[in-house]
Amino acid sequence: MKARVTVTLKSGILDPQGKAIEGALKSLGVDGVASVRQGKVFDIELSGSDKAKAEAALKDAADKLLANTVIENYRVELL
């Protein structure tokens, strides 16, 4: 089973990297970019086939390690 965990900065948290990318896109002349926030994507392969179990394991992984919930939110998807 394949899954994806997406980690993003909470709103209101300063994201200097996103800001730098935003500036670069603007200087490249890419039209209509209002703002950029940078995040992380984890593609994870799971061995079992129980969806509920998989989701619980992924949440556990995100809470314990993948995200720092002080500053980040995460989303778990089974693909």
Partner: protein, 233 residues
């Protein structure tokens, strides 16, 4: 003072730290590998040194914070044991939940490697008793992620409870935007835990302890710890 210096893959300041501890206390520090599950018997001080544990993968300090030895450190701190985290060590202590908040990318995105000035906010703690309150010291920093941030309520609590021990300032002690090298909330360079026994700081006092280093302002921190433990014994 019996010190234990934690060693994680990618850490590179552990020997500087051990040298400073030996200089201050006369005792060789024990080097403790991250896979250990216990600290050496009789440990007075645990030090989490600087460097780039696990190459800063995922987030600075995130993987080291989950190493087996950190459970022992958590127990030790829970019993009131003294813990000092410098630079990556500060990031590790935050990730481990031993200190609140998080170290974000420097506001101006640059890796900063230079001497900075710090104002010692109070002198009545084990980590600052080697200084006078309000004293300005000069110590080096070397970090890309030292911008301390926490939610507003946490920062207010840190200030209200006097838990900010070191703050970035100018050579004459002025705390303002231009002396706040990395954009940290309230120019915070170092904070202690609620109980006051865990200190995390971005600057490297261990690199200003001998005349050959050009400055010995970092000595006070280690001398203070030694004096504190001698008094307690």
């Amino acid at each position: 003072m019996k010190s234990a210096v934690l060693v994680f893959p990618g850490i590179n300041r552990e020997r500087d730290m051990a040298r400073a501890l030996k200089l201050a206390s006369g005792h060789e520090a024990a080097m403790v590998w991250h896979a250990e599950t216990a600290l050496p018997k009789g440990t007075d001080l645990v030090v989490v040194p600087g460097g780039f544990s696990y190459g800063d993968y995922l987030r600075c300090g995130a993987i080291a914070a989950r190493a087996p030895v950190m459970d022992a450190v958590r127990d030790f701190a829970g019993k009131g044991g003294l813990v000092l985290g410098v630079c990556n060590g500060f990031q590790i202590l935050c990730e481990a939940g031993l200190l609140p908040g998080v170290l974000m990318r420097n506001a101006r995105l640059k890796f900063i490697c230079k001497d900075v000035h710090l104002r010692v906010e109070r002198s009545d703690t084990p980590f600052t008793r080697g200084y006078n309150a309000g004293q300005i010291i000069r110590v080096p920093v070397a970090h890309g992620e030292g911008n301390y941030e926490a939610d507003e309520e946490t920062v207010k609590r840190l200030e209200g409870e006097g838990r900010v021990l070191y703050r970035y300032c100018s050579a004459d002690g002025v705390v303002d935007e231009s002396s706040n090298i990395n954009g940290a909330a309230q120019s915070i360079a170092g904070i202690v835990s609620e109980r006051g026994n865990v200190l995390g700081m971005m600057p490297h006092p261990e690199n200003h302890v001998e005349d050959i280093m050009g400055c010995t302002d970092g000595r006070g921190l280690f001398a203070g710890l030694v004096a504190h433990l001698e008094n307690a014994a």
